[in-house]
């Protein structure tokens, strides 16, 4: 790293006792035993239950709302009109009225008693047919990207080109714990919220602004969160109405979305469809790309898909058009825009490789140096590793499995990138004279292992076992920490915890130096002791050392960013899928999924690998099953439940192989985020594997039997 001999630097490889090893998550027992309390589990004395009346129509104007009957019903304590007459509703499931009642049943009855009149307006809920959408005046073009001269490059007689169409539909987050809050007023201008949120330190400001109360009067608590995946950064409209109902009723109110609302309104990943032309020299060197892309993220423009993805093809033109629809608002979904970009790029490159009679893995290898930030070398190492783990040379074959029978096997590959620089973080370390150590951060653990990472860093620095550190997160009263998005948490909390721990240790060393007769800078903390460097005979136990602090506890504050670079940004990764396709039924079965991933210095190898396993599984899920199906007749989501919005089950995922790139060349980059990148490649890799198996491209994800059979019937490039 840039600065040398900085006191905060990560320990050298030989001096690491915990960092980089496999350590079980410290909140594992609380979760496995069911004792971890999530927002949905909070029950306060006298608490009321909220329920919401939601629009049954995709696009309407509200003309009348009558809550009088609901207000008189038994058990009903407060009723709030969230959107009243004159308001235009842009998606089915949008909030209209929320009620608070003594029981969920009473609240449900009250919602049913509310009468609303609507004026119907035209709606659009499907965007796959671009030309039709254009004519409906529902499009908004984004700025065009033009690098080099694609037309000229395609015109070169030495260039072979391929034109294809690909797509990936809207899907939803389907967090198992729905969005929502429990809100109680603890004073005339003060509230406490229990919120299912990815931003414990950010939510108080949102409530404060909306309720016109001081932000310091809002405490937000989220000890455990049942999934977020990018969809839980906001207080949301229902958060505000829940707080208002609690004020009206003078009692705490709990409102978390029912499952149908969770799937209809609380998270969708924008779609992407593309007509693309990609060209390479006969040796496979990519030279030209031209794409017309469109997609929807609901009523407002969503992100432009970064295509061509990873590979900065020298001559490239990209047009993107947003289709504005009434499907509900988009939210960030694990690596926003990247899974779509991979599914629209790696597929086209794969088809071009087939046309050139090239092995697609070799084609990516050949073009890896087109990756930005000089990441070509990393990709080549990762492609090599992925080839080994997937037994590529044994199972890959030219397009179309020629084996007899109706089960066809194929392999596909994709690669991806992500940033992941550590966010703003503040850690307070307290060491008491009895030796106990606490780390406090206003952060949250989405299940990625944030608590465990903090404990490992503090314990490593102080020479203690992981169990010796108490980690307190999930409360906005702890020092500010950034929201968990963009894979920024591990870089943030590990750096702030390191800095705070190093400073805290220095104070302990200073206290014991005179007694040991060794200068403080010649002392180290290791194995539960403070000892002289290279002389274990001069040592004192951690507990005895802390007693030297007298009656004073040590309290230090570490920040990120701060002195010494402890992390960086920018990772690569490769995914391989190995599938079998039944050409009679159209069923795609996963044999094996491979993830090879770098993320700089790994703090906890066990939870890091879990992120990759989970990403592969989520990738199988959106690759094979997931789609927000909208009904053109009613404008509503057809599958707002978990039997028809399918997510992968334990028998659907095949064998999973994960390899983390570590050691020289990786560790010295410091800590980089990991939660998102490995989920990017699986969709594209599965698409390519299916094409490799059956000899034709199934253009759109997810690869359900109907789509596979349709592609087989249509035929195409063999």
């Amino acid at each position: 790293m840039a600065e040398t001999n900085c006191k905060y630097e990560w320990p050298a490889a030989g001096d690491r006792h915990l960092i980089g090893t496999r350590i079980s998550r410290i909140d594992g027992p609380a979760k496995a035993s069911g004792r971890a309390k999530y927002t949905l589990d909070v029950n306060l004395p006298g608490m009321l239950f909220g329920k919401c009346l939601r629009s049954p129509y995709a696009h309407v104007k509200i003309t009348a709302v009558d809550t009088s009957a609901a207000e008189k019903m038994p058990g009903v304590k407060a009723v709030r009109v969230i959107q009243g007459p004159g308001k235009e509703i842009q998606w089915a499931g949008d909030e209209i009225v929320e009620v608070a009642a003594a029981s969920e049943e009473a609240a449900e009855d009250a919602v049913r008693a509310v009468k609303v009149e609507y004026q119907q307006l035209p709606f659009l809920v499907n965007e796959a047919d671009f030309d039709k959408d254009k004519s409906a005046g529902r499009t908004k073009p984004a700025a065009e990207l033009k690098v080099g001269d694609a037309d000229k490059a395609f015109a070169d007689p030495e260039v072979v080109s391929y034109e294809g169409e690909y797509g990936i539909p809207v899907m939803v987050h389907c967090c198992l714990e729905p969005h929502g809050h429990v809100v109680e007023w603890v004073g005339p201008q003060s509230i406490r919220t229990f919120s299912s949120t990815q931003g414990v330190s950010a939510v108080p400001g949102q409530f404060a602004e909306a309720l016109s109360i001081p932000a310091n009067n809002v405490e937000t608590i989220c000890r455990y969160i049942g999934g977020g995946f990018g969809s839980k950064f906001q207080m949301d409209r229902w958060g505000l109405s829940t707080a208002q109902l609690a004020k009206d009723a003078k009692k705490p109110v709990k409102y978390l979305l029912d499952r149908d609302a969770e799937l209809e309104v609380a998270g969708c990943r924008p779609s992407g469809f593309v007509k693309v032309k990609v060209g390479a020299k006969k040796d496979g060197t990519l030279v030209a790309w031209q794409s017309d892309c469109w997609g929807t993220g609901g009523p407002s423009p969503s992100g432009v898909l970064p295509i061509p993805y990873v590979l900065d093809i020298p001559n490239r033109t990209r047009r993107h058009t947003f289709i504005l629809t009434n499907i509900g608002p988009a939210r960030a979904w694990r690596a926003p825009n990247h899974p779509q970009a991979a599914a629209l790029t790696m597929t086209a490159v794969d088809d071009l490789a087939a046309k050139l009679n090239m092995d697609p893995l070799q084609m990516l290898m050949k073009n890896a140096d087109l990756a930005s930030e000089n990441r070509g070398k990393v990709y080549k190492e990762e492609l090599q590793k992925a080839a080994e783990l997937s037994e590529w040379s044994k199972y890959w074959h030219p397009r179309g499995d020629k084996a007899s029978g109706h089960i066809k096997r194929g392999l596909g590959v994709s690669m991806h990138t992500w940033g992941g620089r550590g966010h703003n973080s503040n850690c307070q370390i307290t060491i008491q004279p009895d030796g106990s150590v606490t780390a406090e951060l206003g952060s949250q653990d989405l299940g990625t292992g944030t608590r465990t990472v903090i404990a490992i860093v503090a314990a490593e620095t102080l020479g203690l076992p992981v169990e010796a550190v108490t980690v307190k997160i999930g409360d906005s009263h702890y020092p500010y920490d950034g929201p968990s998005g963009g894979s920024t948490t591990v870089g943030g909390v590990s750096a702030s915890t390191r800095r705070a721990s190093v400073d805290a240790l220095q104070q302990v060393l200073a206290a014991v130096a005179p007694g040991l007769g060794v200068p403080a800078d010649q002392l180290v903390a290791v194995g539960g002791k403070i000892q002289a460097k290279g002389d274990a005979s001069k040592s004192i136990s951690w507990k005895q050392a802390c007693r030297k602090l007298g009656v004073k506890s040590v309290q230090t504050h570490g920040k990120n960013p701060g002195q010494c670079s402890l992390g960086s940004s920018g990772v690569g990764g490769v995914g391989v899928a190995d599938v079998s396709v039944d050409t009679e039924t159209g069923q795609v079965k996963i044999n094996r999924m491979v993830a090879v991933q770098d993320c700089g210095l790994i703090i906890d190898l066990k939870t890091a690998e879990s992120q990759c396993y989970g990403a592969l599984i989520m990738g199988v899920s959106y690759g094979l099953f997931e789609e927000k199906l909208m009904d053109n007749a009613t404008g509503r989501m057809l599958n707002p439940n978990m039997e028809f919005y399918k997510i992968a089950g334990i028998g659907d995922v095949g064998e999973l192989k994960v390899h983390m790139m570590t050691g020289p060349g990786y560790d010295e980059r410091g800590v980089i985020g990991l939660g998102e990148p490995p989920v990017i490649s699986p969709g594209a890799a599965i698409s390519n594997a299916v094409a490799n198996a059956i000899g034709v491209r199934v253009p759109n994800l997810p690869f359900t039997p109907d789509k596979v059979l349709a592609a087989l019937a249509k035929g195409g490039m063999a």
């Binding site: 496995a32 069911g34 004792r35 977020g228």
Partner: protein, 221 residues
Amino acid sequence: MKKEKLRSRKKEEGNEGFNRRDFLKGAGVAVSGGILAGETQAVAQAAEETSGVQGPGETPVTLRVNGETKHLNIEPRVTLLDALRDRLDTTGAKRVCDRATCGACTMLVDDRPVYGCTVLAIEAQGHEVTTIEHFSQGGKLHPMMQAFVDHDAQQCGFCTPGFVMACIAFLKTHHNPTLEDVEKGLGGNLCRCGTYEGIRHAVLQAAKTMTAEKEGGLANG
């Protein structure tokens, strides 16, 4: 919404149970009683014993939960899951799909796994309800819970209690399961974070630990 009666009994005794996808394939949304008739017999019988019109208002209900007797006044439409979570602050079982798809609310009724979201509390009267809280009393983790910790079979942890309960029930009828058995037998529970890799290992480990403990116990006894 009216809750359908007891369509949630999900694991057939003595075989692999049914996989969620097979289940949907065979039954569609409107689950036919036939598939599950054998399993529901016991509870259906109990429901008959307490037959007579109840509700629509609140009615006294007595539940046996983790060995304790609990008295409630609730409407007949209240599910066992909601009675436990909303009235008894027993929140280990989670409400996720609320219609017998995801298994997050898996609990035991008379030692057999059910989806608590699709059993009415009044139907559970006269039966022993066991929730995940029962298996870590005194702070000691059940071997299945320990296996989940050891194999990192959890991320956000929201599906975990249901999965742990399904696994405990699964091992009651599968003492030495294969990987294929595990994948079939646990097809009735869903995870969003993607923890199946750890769960597969955890179940196989717990099967070994529990068999060893049982044999050790016999040898010592």
